[in-house]
Structures are given as structure tokens and as C-alpha cells.
């Protein structure tokens, strides 16, 4: 009986010590964090320019060689109204890239055909000398009603916009 009591005491003691430690281990945050006023979604697509033509234009991609063009395609939703932000609603909407001028997004028809949707887009031509590696860009919006939103890439290294050496 004494042994059983000792064993029980040890188990309970260990549980009492371990439980707070486990409880203190924070869960990774839910992406993209928040709270935010305006939801922003952005994708990077291949595009052709004078210096470089990718094998497929308009393809989703996150590895881009120096001198190539990155096409940002973006949409935003004001969470208060659930309305998609259009050209009438946005005060500022741009891509912020480290050590580069902001890339202004414009609202226009994407694709061809009568039913082609309207979406925000902007193009960045990667300078010849831009540093290789991950580009932690952000897409920022301020609406005319003064509401803000931001898009940041999920911090998964290989899935982020990355500049590689030109071929």
C-alpha cells in the first residue's frame, strides 16, 4: 500500500510539473494574424519583359531570375462591408519591396473575354543587381474610408518570393 501511495504521489507530482510547462508552450500563430480591417490576397505570376520571357506567361510562381518581371495579382475585401475593394474604394494600394520604389497597383480587367474579372495588378522588374534570396514584400491598402489591410507571405521559406540568378 505504501509503495502504491509513493507511486501515485510521484505520478501526480510529475504531472503537476509537466502540465504547466506544456501549457506554457505557445502554439504557432494562426496565419495571417490580425485583427485586420481589410483582407488582402496576393499572388505572384510570371510575366514577359524585354530582358526575359518565361516559358509560361501568367503562371503562379515564386522563383524569379534577376531582370525578370514579377506580376502581382491582388484582391481585397473590406471586412466591415464584405465588399471587394474596387478602384472607387481604394485610396492607396501598393506593393512595398525592400529597397525598391513602391509598385502601385491598378484595377483592371484580367484576361480576355466579356466575362473577364476585374482585379488589382502591378508589375515589378527585378533589377539586374537585386540581392538574391527571399523578398519579404508586403501589399498595403488604405481605403477611402480610412481602413487598412496588409498582405504578407506565409513564412514558409521555399514558397516565398525569391530572386535567383539570371540564366
Amino acid at each position: 500500500m505504501k509503495r502504491l501511495l509513493i507511486a501515485t504521489t510521484v505520478v501526480l507530482g510529475a504531472a503537476a510539473l509537466v502540465t504547466p510547462i506544456l501549457a506554457q508552450t505557445p502554439e504557432p500563430p494562426a496565419w495571417p494574424g490580425g485583427p485586420t480591417q481589410v483582407f488582402v490576397s496576393a499572388h505572384t505570376l510570371t510575366a514577359a519583359n524585354a530582358a526575359y520571357t518565361p516559358a509560361v506567361v501568367g503562371k503562379q510562381e515564386n522563383f524569379f531570375p534577376q531582370t525578370s518581371a514579377v506580376r502581382f495579382q491582388v484582391y481585397a475585401v473590406d471586412l466591415k462591408t464584405s465588399k471587394v475593394v474596387t478602384a472607387q474604394d481604394a485610396k492607396y494600394f501598393y506593393v512595398s519591396i525592400p529597397n525598391q520604389p513602391n509598385v502601385k497597383l491598378t484595377y483592371g480587367k484580367a484576361g480576355t473575354g466579356a466575362k473577364a474579372p476585374y482585379i488589382w495588378a502591378g508589375t515589378w522588374t527585378i533589377p539586374d543587381t537585386y540581392p538574391l534570396g527571399v523578398v519579404p514584400f508586403r501589399v498595403l491598402i488604405t481605403t477611402k474610408s480610412g481602413r487598412h489591410g496588409v498582405f504578407q507571405q506565409a513564412p514558409v521559406a521555399l514558397a516565398q518570393l525569391t530572386v535567383i540568378a539570371k540564366p
Binding site: 502554439e27 504557432p28 500563430p29 494562426a30 496565419w31 495571417p32 494574424g33 490580425g34 485583427p35 485586420t36 480591417q37 483582407f39 490576397s41 499572388h43 505572384t44 505570376l45 509560361v56 506567361v57 501568367g58 503562371k59 503562379q60 510562381e61 515564386n62 522563383f63 495579382q73 484582391y75 475585401v77 471586412l79 466591415k80 462591408t81 464584405s82 465588399k83 471587394v84 474596387t86 480587367k109 484580367a110 484576361g111 480576355t112 466579356a114 466575362k115 473577364a116 474579372p117 476585374y118 482585379i119 506565409a154 513564412p155 514558409v156 521559406a157 521555399l158 514558397a159
Partner: protein, 164 residues
């Protein structure tokens, strides 16, 4: 006075008809004018599968048969302005034509100390899956009964595409 009233009536009627007709011809925003539960989604390559792409875990929308497509997604709660986690979602899945629905899992991604959590699911493309565009949909249903639906814009070159 009567012709004037008639003219006004006709003008109002024409205006109303024009307003009704407007959505079909005017600027149709992607994904739709109103979005109760906005969703981000993309597709990345997998390190698993019978056929592996040259780079793993990178964004692409072209996948050969027998490769694995990893769908990544997150959705936003309009009332709180925060991401929807497994606590707020009743179900979440990817609907792929000709395939069983693929449940999205809430999980941890990335490497410490920069790990984050979002939704994902992997799809092994069958060897006989039809070539071409895969018009998949991602569906979230919240515990409060709201739906979030993601569909890629129907733009050439941008949609998930199965290649030989």
C-alpha cells in the same frame, strides 16, 4: 404635363433596367462583389508523390499526372478580422472535379521559430486524370453557418493545370 410624366416614367424605367443589366456588362470584381468569408489559396509542389517537381514546396499551378498538389489556404472571420481556425470551422475541403472531396487540415507549417498555422491538403493526381485545367473550389463553412469559397480566376495560364 402628361407627356412630361410619361417621359419621366420612361426614363426611370430605362434607368432601372440599365441598373439591372449593369452587373452583366460592367466591371465584375474578382472573386465577386461581396465576399462574406474571404479566402486566400494557392498550390505548391510536394516533396512526396510518384512524380516530383524540380523544386519542392514552391508555388506553381502546373503539375504532371501522379505528382502531388498541396493546397494551402487561409480564411478570415469578417466579424473579428482574425483567421478562421479549426475552432471556428465546421468543415473545410477542396472540391476537385471527378474526385472525392479533399478535407483541409489545420496544421503547423514552416520551421521554428517562424512557424505558423493554416489549412492545407495534398492531392495525388491520378495517372489517368484528364489533362488540362482543374477548376477546383475550396469551401469553408464556419460554425456560424457562413461560407467562404475560393475559385481561381478563369484566366489562361493561372489555373491549376494537369500536364502529361
Amino acid at each position: 404635363m402628361k407627356p412630361f410624366r410619361t417621359a419621366i416614367g420612361a426614363t426611370v424605367a430605362v434607368g432601372a433596367l440599365a441598373a439591372l443589366a449593369a452587373p452583366a456588362s460592367a466591371q465584375a470584381p474578382y472573386p465577386s462583389p461581396k465576399v462574406p468569408v474571404p479566402v486566400y489559396a494557392d498550390t505548391v509542389s510536394s516533396s512526396r508523390g510518384d512524380v516530383k517537381l524540380s523544386r519542392v514546396c514552391t508555388q506553381t499551378n502546373f503539375f504532371p499526372r501522379r505528382a502531388r498538389v498541396v493546397f494551402r489556404a487561409w480564411a478570415m472571420d469578417s466579424t473579428t478580422g482574425k483567421p478562421l481556425t479549426s475552432l471556428e470551422i465546421k468543415y473545410a475541403y477542396v472540391k476537385i472535379p471527378g474526385q472525392p472531396n479533399l478535407a483541409l487540415n489545420w496544421g503547423t507549417h514552416g520551421t521554428a521559430p517562424n512557424q505558423v498555422r493554416f489549412w492545407s491538403a495534398a492531392w495525388a493526381i491520378p495517372a489517368d486524370y484528364p489533362l488540362g485545367v482543374v477548376p477546383f473550389r475550396i469551401v469553408f463553412k464556419t460554425e456560424t453557418g457562413q461560407f467562404g469559397i475560393f475559385q481561381q480566376p478563369a484566366i489562361e495560364g493561372q489555373q491549376l493545370t494537369v500536364t502529361p
